[in-house]
């Protein structure tokens, strides 16, 4: 014979289980409703039929250190910064393919690309700079003054914001790092004639090197890259 207190305890526990199951089901329903409501409230951009266009990719080759311009047909956004971001994302994706001549681990690489009209006008400082602020600003080498007039009217500065994971997992070495930078600079130059200079950020902040070697604090002049001896094929193409 089961004692009475045990029967009472059994039914109490069974009731509690039932109650918890009901609460759980209700919670799931509420979460689902919330997600659905949020999705409904998300503004959707009107679809735009972007026709595919021929673009130039400056592809690097580790074996001989060259950069070759190749043509690809891509459907790209019409807005300039989104177009540049998609173009560079495609460029890096080419390097993650099997048998790539410049292998890079796959994953998100380009966070943003900003196109700024030159010359840049430095903000008026509210007060004197502290020593920390002065040391935090990277020193641009001579000849790359961002406040100077551009070489051609309408010249632009491209600021490429890289993902930190991309930089951290990039093959380390002077050759692979410089080829990646020259590849990005060459691709921008080949598709955006207004771009004169390129700067790099990693996760929105200045970083000394890509992965221990290539300098990321300097401003890369696109013209110099196109006429450099390290890129004979780019030079021929322009």
């Amino acid at each position: 014979m089961i004692p009475r207190y045990q029967r009472i305890l059994f039914w109490v526990l069974a009731g509690a289980i039932l109650l918890m199951a009901l609460v759980l089901l209700r919670g799931c329903e509420q979460a689902r409703e919330k997600l659905t409501r949020h999705r409904d409230e998300t503004p959707l951009a009107a679809p735009v039929a972007a026709g595919s266009a021929s673009v130039h990719l400056a592809l690097a080759n580790d074996a001989d250190g060259t950069i070759i311009l190749v043509d690809r047909d891509l459907a790209l956004p019409t807005e300039a910064t989104a177009r540049a971001r998609a173009l560079l994302a495609r460029l890096i994706a080419e390097y993650s393919y099997k048998n790539s001549a410049h292998p890079i681990e796959s994953g998100p690489a380009i966070d943003d690309v900003f196109l700024l009209d030159l010359p840049l006008h430095p903000p008026v400082a509210a007060g004197p700079k502290t020593a920390d602020q002065q040391s935090a600003s990277p020193a641009a080498p001579a000849g790359s003054d961002l406040t100077a007039e551009p070489q051609v009217p309408g010249g632009q500065l491209a600021v490429v914001n890289l993902h930190g994971t991309f930089a951290d997992h990039h093959p380390s070495g002077i050759e692979p790092e410089m080829l990646t930078i020259q590849s990005i600079v060459g691709t921008l130059y080949a598709n955006f004639p207004r771009i004169e200079q390129v700067r790099f950020l990693v996760d929105g902040r200045p970083r000394d090197t890509l992965n221990g070697h290539a300098d990321l604090l300097r401003t890369y002049a696109v013209v110099d890259t196109a006429t450099g001896t390290a890129q004979p094929t780019v030079q021929e193409a322009h």
Binding site: A63, S172, G173, I174, P176, M178, G212, A214, D215, T229
Partner: protein
């Protein structure tokens, strides 16, 4: 009364003359520094023809690239530096290295450049290693040659302050010539080379013919490539570099006024090396003391 008038007139004249002189001195522009008639000139030859600076990159917490199972770039560059130092010393060079071990608190790139710039070395070699590519990669600065160098390298005509960030600009042509010489010797030794330009610290801050040597795996026909840790491969590279630098020291000079390597030059090199050892110790001491200021000669090189 008349003498007192005369005295007053003389006094007024003296005061007026003194005021005029004082005004003329005060009216001189403040920012204009009177220049001597003969500006200070640099020594006839900027380069010490028996002295080579070796800079094995990375070190301490900065291991550089990972080149295999638990093999770090900093160890490979140090091993290559030791082989190169031995070969260069045997060839009569005095070698100044920015590190001889793996210090816990290594020098910064600016401090390494500071050491190199004090020596006026005939060549500055920055050593790196990578697992990518093949053979030896030789890089020079991405800076454009300076106007002084284009004008014939007449450094003796006037002392021109050089910005720290572009200190290498005056030596870019020399560096490219050195790179070409090195490529030729490596090719003679059947070691494939790749020459180019790279934005790598501290290349742009060096005031000497400077190249960066990046060691990559050596392709061997029919076999696996020789790794950068291969002792024979490193020795071949060290010997080729020594041979090229021996030829280089006889014709490296930006102004064409250098004297051939001599016993006097060698003694001077050893004196500089001794002074440099003291400077290296001082730089390390400053580094350990947390000194983060830029080198003292910044902008005045």
């Amino acid at each position: 009364m008349i003498p007192s008038r005369k005295f007053a007139a003389v006094l007024v004249a003296v005061l007026a003359a003194a005021a005029a002189i004082a005004f003329s001195v005060h009216a001189q522009p403040q920012g204009e520094i009177p220049m001597p008639e003969q500006p200070p000139s640099l020594p006839a030859s900027l380069l010490n023809h028996n002295l080579v600076v070796l800079d094995p990159a990375h070190g301490g917490p900065d291991g550089g690239a990972v080149l295999g199972d638990h093999i770090l770039e900093k160890d490979v560059t140090l091993a290559l530096e030791m082989r190169l130092r031995t070969a260069l010393s045997a060839a009569g060079f005095t070698v100044v290295a920015t590190r001889d071990a793996d210090p816990a608190d290594p020098l910064t790139a600016d401090q390494r450049a500071e050491i190199a710039n004090r020596t006026h070395a005939v060549a500055c070699i920055v050593l790196h290693a990578t697992a990518t590519g093949s053979g030896v990669h030789i890089y020079t600065s991405t800076l454009q040659p300076s106007l002084t160098e284009d004008a014939g390298g007449d450094f003796s005509s006037a002392f021109v302050p050089v910005p720290w960030e572009t200190a290498q600009a005056g030596f870019v042509s020399q560096s490219q010539r050195l790179s070409g010489d090195l490529s030729s010797v490596f090719s003679k030794g059947s070691i494939p080379t790749l020459a180019g330009k790279a934005a790598v610290a501290p290349l742009d801050n060096l005031m000497c013919p400077a190249v960066t040597i990046e060691l990559a795996p050596l392709p061997v026909p029919g076999e696996d490539p020789a790794a950068v840790t291969d002792a024979n491969y490193q020795q071949r590279v060290a010997e080729a570099l020594t041979e090229a630098l021996q030829a280089w020291r006889d014709h490296a000079d930006p102004i064409g006024m250098a004297t051939p390597a001599s016993a006097e030059d060698s003694a001077q090199s050893k004196a500089i090396a001794a002074a440099e050892a003291a400077g290296l110790a001082a730089a390390r001491a400053r580094s350990q003391a947390g000194a983060t200021a830029r080198p003292a000669q910044k902008g005045t090189q």
